[in-house]
């Protein structure tokens, strides 16, 4: 990094102190306001851990049981707090174990800074003990990555990392620091980064485009909004609410947009996508104007692009220019932070009600209720459903918990049925669909929002991918509530096998251990529920617990999640059974 610009970025600091690179890492993190790190030590990062020991009153380190756990915990922390999550690992296997979490953070735009140790500079490229090219490995899944080989680079690179991670469309950044750089002494001074000449994080909102968009919205007969995580990342919840209330436009959310608008808001019409609601999916192909706010037309949302919203004029509000026209051609693209662009368009749009258009949503919602929701939430058959567990969690928490879900059927049930009053309350692995995400992410979520109830909803499959993090929960005493919905199957895959592979259940049945004993082995209170009569009390007891609590609910083995848009099908072909 021998460019002139970087030199200039730190030029005007005044105070310097002579310290080691390792201490510089800690001091830089403190300068960025970090007080919590997740990680796992090892040879190549020991100097930094040694400094952590000295600074432990200022910088709290949580030892997870696996580096993947550290990365997911940092993500959970970032997603609920809006701050940057920090994860740390040693070189080689430590670093590669972070990669799943990094990839997950990249696709879900989660701000995260990962620090990895690396072998000493003179050993680089020699296949030294625990050497891996983590910068090379992580390049395609980071927003930025950089290897530091001498101590003097540490402050400016860390400052840059924090700036890049959080600004514009957020994402993970990885900094790899060779061991010699951790030992070397240099004159440390710190200056925050607030600009990089080659990087324009937020495009400027174009006033003419806003006018154009406003006039299209004002003349629309059946306008429809789909909002995504951009609203949450941009802190644009209030603007979203004002905008839809003024224009009367029905608004649906993507899985990562969930909780940006309260569930019971009258203009909230549900979730779009593969397992989204019937009305918003179907009516995507009937609206005349489709307003996309901070969402990226993921293929799980659009289904077959050739048949997606072809009749509609698409207005795309987006911070990342590379998303414009990537999947869906727009009529008007409004680049910028959605908070700013919404604030500017609100005065330009007319007050409307769109009553008959809302009626269409209501009719379709009633159909979905009869055919799907009733069975999920008020089942008459004996086996417990995932939906009713979610309903009881809502009841016990007054619709105000942070729900962290893993990946599979239970995730779709959680997103469909969990109710939210506040933003940043839904934490799930959307873009990567990473099983094993929820348990460690719930640890981070609870630490990022200690005053809130955090409930992890996990399948029996995904739970066993990071089950060792029960050890982290035990050691840190973080009071998360863990609900495993046990169907003795890799349920979502089994559902596909049932529907598309003639019920050939290849390797999806799980013979599970005694989860209660395992939880108790980690000294975590635990209970198992098999019958409907026991459910309400068990959920209430769990929520009332001041400590961590594990609840296993044995649910119907072969339930399916509907509605469903099979991969590659049109949103109009959404199936109710």
């Amino acid at each position: 990094m021998e460019t002139k610009t970087l030199k200039k970025e730190v030029a005007n600091t005044d105070k310097t102190i002579r310290i080691s690179g390792a201490e510089a890492v800690i001091r830089s993190l403190l300068e960025e306001g970090v007080d919590l790190i997740y990680g796992y030590p090892g040879g190549a990062i020991m100097p930094i851990y040694d400094e952590l020991y000295k600074f432990q009153d200022k910088l709290h380190h949580v030892l997870t049981r696996h580096e993947q756990g550290a990365a997911h915990a940092a993500q959970g922390y970032a997603r609920v707090s809006g701050r940057i999550g920090v994860a740390m690992a040693t070189s080689g296997p430590g670093a590669t174990n972070l990669v799943t979490g990094i990839a997950d953070a990249q696709i879900d735009s989660t701000p995260m800074v990962c620090i990895t140790g690396q072998v000493a500079r003179h050993l680089l490229g020699s296949d030294a003990f625990q050497e891996t090219d983590i910068v090379g490995i992580s390049t395609p899944v980071t927003k930025w990555s950089y290897q530091i080989t001498n101590a003097s680079e540490i402050p400016e690179v860390i400052a840059k990392a924090f700036y890049i991670s959080k600004s514009g469309r957020p994402g993970p950044v990885l900094i790899d620091i060779t061991k010699n750089a951790q030992f070397e002494e240099f004159d440390f001074c710190y200056k925050k980064c607030n600009g990089i000449r080659s990087y324009k994080p937020v495009p400027v909102v174009n006033k003419e485009k806003l006018q154009e968009a406003a006039s299209i919205i004002n003349s629309a007969k059946k306008p429809f909004i789909v909002f995504g995580q951009g609203v949450i990342l941009g802190n644009a919840e209030e603007e979203l609410k004002t905008f839809i209330e003024k224009t009367g436009i029905p608004a649906a959310w993507t899985i990562l947009g969930l909780s940006a608008l309260p569930t019971d808001h009258p203009l909230n019409v549900g979730m779009v996508g593969m397992h989204g609601n019937y009305a918003p999916n179907l009516l995507t192909n009937e609206c005349d104007v489709l307003i996309a706010l901070g969402m990226r037309f993921d293929d799980r949302v659009t289904g077959d692009l050739n048949t997606y919203a072809k009749q509609a004029k698409v207005l795309h509000f987006e911070i990342d220019p590379a998303e414009i026209d990537k999947n869906v051609k727009t009529e008007v693209a409004i680049l910028g932070n959605v908070k700013e662009s919404l604030a500017q368009i609100i005065p330009l749009v007319n007050e409307k009600k769109h009553e008959s258009w809302h009626e269409e949503f209501k009719k379709k919602r009633d159909i979905e209720f009869e055919k799907v929701i009733k069975k999920d939430l008020y089942p008459e058959k004996e086996g417990l459903t995932m939906g009713e567990v979610l309903k009881e969690i809502n009841n016990a928490t007054g619709d105000d918990a942070i729900i962290v879900s893993d990946v599979g059927q239970h995730q779709m049930f959680a997103c469909r049925y969990a109710k939210f009053k506040r933003s940043k309350s839904n934490v799930t692995s959307g873009g990567l669909g990473t099983m094993g995400f929820a348990l460690p992410a719930s640890i981070g979520a609870k630490m990022g929002a200690p005053d809130r109830e955090v409930v992890a909803v996990i399948g029996d499959g995904g739970y066993q991918m990071t089950i060792q993090e029960l050890g982290t929960i035990f050691q840190t005493k973080v009071p998360v509530k863990i609900v495993v919905l046990n169907n003795n199957f890799l349920g979502m895959v089994r559902q596909w096998q049932q529907l598309f592979f003639d019920k050939r259940y290849a390797s999806t049945e799980l013979t599970n251990p005694d989860f209660i004993t395992i939880a108790k082995g980690y000294h975590i209170k635990a209970k198992q529920v098999k019958k409907r009569e026991e459910l309400v009390n068990a959920v209430n007891e769990m929520i009332a617990s001041k400590e961590a609590y594990f609840l296993e609910v044995c649910v119907e083995k072969e339930d399916n999640v509907f509605p469903m848009i099979p991969t590659g099908s049109s949103v109009s072909d959404i199936r109710l059974s």
Partner: protein, 177 residues
């Protein structure tokens, strides 16, 4: 399907280690073959310029350019068709020395093709030729019958006919600071 064409992508970037990996990854992910790649310094101090030639549809080229621009160290990326650029490649031909004297025709070929003799030694001589791809190919075909000991062709370098406003952009940034 939109028709495929040759596009020249120009990327102005900070001169940082690792950027080539990031940029080539963007093509790799989409299974787009890089026909030619050249990295050099540009008209601006400390700013590198990549010249990348691909054969793709304009739609894909546009998307790729956006992805490239998204990389932190990239200052700006542009794409142009062949008609919109002045471009050249350079080739070197190594040929046995005695042919230069034994085969009169070779001297004519060198003259007519506007190529240059770079060096002559006891065993071989080297001709260099700069020009468009077809001109180099033509020369290759002419020399082939006499025996070419070694042949190498460089990546494409190109400048656009119209201005790329990169300097103004950088100036603006400097003023903002």
């Amino acid at each position: 399907m939109e028709e495929k064409k040759t596009f020249t992508i120009s990327v102005y970037s900070e001169n940082n280690v690792g950027l080539l990996n990031r940029i080539s990854g963007i093509f790799l992910k989409r299974h787009i073959n890089i026909e030619s790649l050249n990295v050099s310094s540009s008209e601006i101090d400390h700013v590198s310029r990549f010249v990348i030639v691909i054969y793709a549809t304009e739609d894909w080229t546009k998307r790729i350019v956006k992805q490239i621009e998204k990389q932190i160290e990239v200052i700006k990326a542009f794409y142009h068709t062949d008609e919109e650029t002045i471009y050249q490649e350079t080739a070197l031909f190594k040929i046995e020395s005695h042919l230069l004297f034994d085969e009169r025709q070779i001297q004519n070929i060198i003259k007519e093709s506007n190529s240059q003799i770079v060096t002559v030694s006891r065993n071989f001589f080297v001709i260099s030729k700069s020009g468009r791809r077809n001109e180099i190919e033509e020369l290759y075909d002419q020399l082939k019958p006499y025996g070419i000991m070694q042949f190498v062709r460089s990546a494409r370098i190109s400048v656009s006919k119209e201005e790329m406003q990169i300097s103004t952009m950088l100036k603006q940034f400097q003023e903002q600071e």
